[in-house]
Amino acid sequence: MTGFSRRRFLGTAAAAGASAAATTAPAVSAHPPGWHGGERVLKVATHCEMCFWRCGVLASVSEGKVVRLEGNPDHPLTQGRLCARGNAGTGLLYDPDRLKFPLLRTGKRGEGQFKRATWDEALDFLALKLDAIKKEHGPEAVAFFPHGIGSRFFGTLMKAYGTPNSAEPSFAQCRGPRDVGYSLTFGQGLGSPEPVDLEESKLIVLIGSHLGENVFTSQITAFATGLSRGAKLIAVDPRFSTAAAKADWWLPIRPGTDIALLLAWMNVLIAERLYDQPYVAKNAQGFEQLAAHVRDFTPEWAETITELPAAQIRETARAMGQAKPAVVVHPGRHVTWYGDDTQRARAMAILTALLGSWGRKGGIFLPTPLAPGGIELPDFPESERGRADGAGGRFPLASEELGVTNGLVDATLSGDPYPIKAWIVYGQNVIESIPQPKRTLEAIEKLDLMVVVDVLPVDQIDYADVVLPEATYLERYDSPLFVGSAKRPFVAIRQPVIEPLYESKPGWWIAKQLAKRLGLEGFFPWDTPDQHLAALVEPLGINTLELHNRGAIAFPGRPYIEDRSPDDEPLFNTTSGKIQLFSKELKDLGADPLPRYTNVTDPPKGFLRLIYGRAPVHSFARTENNEALHALMPENEAWIHTRTAAELQVHDGDRVPFENDEGARSLPVRVKVTEGIRRDCVYLVHGFGQRSKGLRRASGKGASDTSLMSRVKVDPLMGGTGMRVNFVRPVKA
């Protein structure tokens, strides 16, 4: 038992408190000291990065060691709650497989042979290479693949260097189509966390969203609260998900036909005058065109396409009409499925508009933007050649802020519109997050320089020339968070709880050091990240010491239409100032101005459609090596329907690889035979089947869904990769 000395304890607290205001050393919170077992501990507020949701954490620190993470009760979003991953964050901090030192490649690319380097050696080498590439090929030849708020300082560096080519998978492999579709309709996207008023809702509609298996703490709290207050639930999913098991209506839809279902729902709402007539009359344009468009899309028409009974389609539409406007048609997150995803998002947005749910209690609530203060920077250089990823060009509606990852892969492979010579990958696993991994690796082979900045030896590490070990979220400052899309908007801090372990360094330090070597120091006009923090948050009237102490500062929100003030942005920031049921923008682009169902291709005989999702204890391909989480779920399973399994002669518990109809093959995975999935599908949880040998727990366990995605269907509007278009079968021994 560790003896506890008050004198020693107070000494530590005072020293840490003094440093919080002025230096980069670990800060301390005003949260009272607590207990861990029989031990007295300091508690420091920060926020979690086991996923991207922005949950508040209190870290218990004892003698320089983080002994426990728990929810921060003061945090406006999560109020003390934390999911399994959040509770397991110390497993990342103390993962023995962490990247510990900068590494420089010695062997051939892909062999994973490195020598240990000092930071000076690694950064000098990198700066030389970047200068040479700029001279020879122009700054645009460097592509940046960031993920998460930790990457923002590096993002500034890339812009200062002169490349516009930055792309994160959160757009073209995730929520891009959603935000484009809702922007076209309502004049703004949804952002993250998405503002769904689940706790006040009377009816929740999930289109493929598997809340419960997809866990974001505050969203689960709101979901469970809504259900316990009597909200009804419609779950549209080919699989009997956790949400489907809680649902009043489970609609096991034929994959890829959601637009037909959505059109049929609109048909019923309009034909039976169940839509919110005053709201639509006041706020929307294009209703007549919409009504004419959906007139023939009856539930009977949809039944033949979706394989859902017309009576059930009608019944669920009526339930929506009854519950309106307190209906959440959940816009989803990962929605790059079939290549028509922007149009499906449009259909969901139009349904939301018909129900009068946008800006209404129990529907989609309105964000309350918080404007950060500014730091004066030199002008970023203008790129003469423009972007290489197609954002704003061949993908006219793609976000230029988030970019199109697969567009950068394409450009690297083809050299069109110009050669890409270097990738800097920051905090993401490009082999697992971007489909068609074979192409991704081929692109990497063509590079002059491949840089990986990460905490763990992720899959692409073996292909890196330079590996820079980043400090974890518990050891670093990140740029402060401004979260407007919460009912109580808030500013939150990520601050170091302890000093970085090994030779790892925070992202801000790496970016600043590299900037110094590239002659770009002017873009980092601060000495320590808390000075940068102060410049951003103080204009909002926030005391930085209080922010360090409490972790987050909340502001009053204006979530519903009736709360809005005249100073707010227009309610519908569209060209017409109204909800665009009919999209003139899409018409001008030669696309369907009203969503239309297009035929989906069924799997060839003997093959099944590959669908995939998440598990509550894992995030992407980031947490599978975590000791506590790995113990709960070391591998995934392949869900196959009972009768399909009998036809394909596989049995529950068999361990078989899967292959797709183009020959791509996965590692072996255990088969789960169940009634809980349609006969034409197979389901895998994403994130498994990683091959990096450096991840000693996770390596080789389960099957990677991405490894079976040799095919994508690209959304022509925004470049998103439809990933549910691959057909697979088990390979018997």
Partner: protein, 243 residues
């Protein structure tokens, strides 16, 4: 007097396992073991008419705990508050209690070789806090309180909402962990994870009579050793007993 109880609302629970990980972290439970764990039932029925359920298991703090009966050393006992506790100093790691528990709620910690299990976070309760599974639960699905307190939420959930316990006609030892759920889902959970008949050591009483004095003796010796160390330290003038 208190009678502590836990109610889990399985209509809200999504099976996220935050409780398991938080509990493991709070009480330094080694990976692969748990004081509280979450299990899903198989999906029952025929497509598309299906049911499934989630079971959140922990020590039931039974009114008539078979574990205490099986314990030969007196390490496992029941407090006046109904909570079954383990005195680690008395535990000899024989695992008889593990076999006796109808709810599979106990494990032998491989590091300490002692038995461990949920005690409703006794030290937290003593500080006026809630058990850690309750405070972290993302779905706000867990309720902890005193069934003797008629104003408590658990009292309402048990006596007004009809939260039920998982027991069978043959294994009815008075569990104090209750569940709310959709009837068909709760029935599936109860049949999927039924309590099993306690396996008590065959010659239980005789064994106990023989072992208990030995254990007390062993503990006495340990205490004596500590006392000697204490006085030795005092004599050397080292004092690590600041408040």
């Amino acid at each position: 007097m208190s009678r502590y109880a836990m109610v889990t609302d399985l209509r809200k629970c999504v099976g996220c396992e935050a409780c398991t990980v938080a509990c493991n972290a709070e009480w330094s439970v080694p990976a692969g073991f748990a004081r509280t764990h979450v299990r899903k039932t198989e999906i029952a029925g025929t497509f598309p008419n299906l049911t499934s359920g989630i079971h959140v298991a922990q020590c039931n703090q039974c009114d008539r705990p078979p574990c205490a009966e099986a314990c030969p050393s007196g390490a496992t006992s029941q407090g006046a508050d109904g909570i079954v506790r383990v005195d680690k100093d008395l535990c000899i790691g024989c695992a008889f209690c593990v076999a006796a528990c109808p709810y599979d709620a106990r494990y032998i910690n491989p590091a300490t070789k002692k038995v461990d299990k949920c005690d409703f976070c006794l030290p937290r309760i003593a500080r006026g806090e809630q058990p850690v599974c309750v405070t972290t639960c993302t779905a706000h699905a867990k309720y902890f309180g005193d069934l003797e307190d008629r104003g408590s939420e658990v009292f309402r959930l048990v006596y007004a909402e009809g939260a039920r316990r998982i027991e069978t006609a043959s294994v009815a030892v008075g569990p104090n962990v209750y569940y709310l759920g959709k009837p068909e889902s709760l029935a599936l959970v109860a049949t999927s994870f039924p309590p099993r008949a306690p396996r008590l050591p065959a010659a239980g009483e005789a064994w106990r009579m023989a072992v208990r004095p030995l254990v007390m003796l062993a503990v006495g010796a340990t205490f004596l050793g500590q006392a000697v160390a204490f006085f030795t330290q005092l004599a050397k003038g080292e004092n690590d007993f600041e408040d």
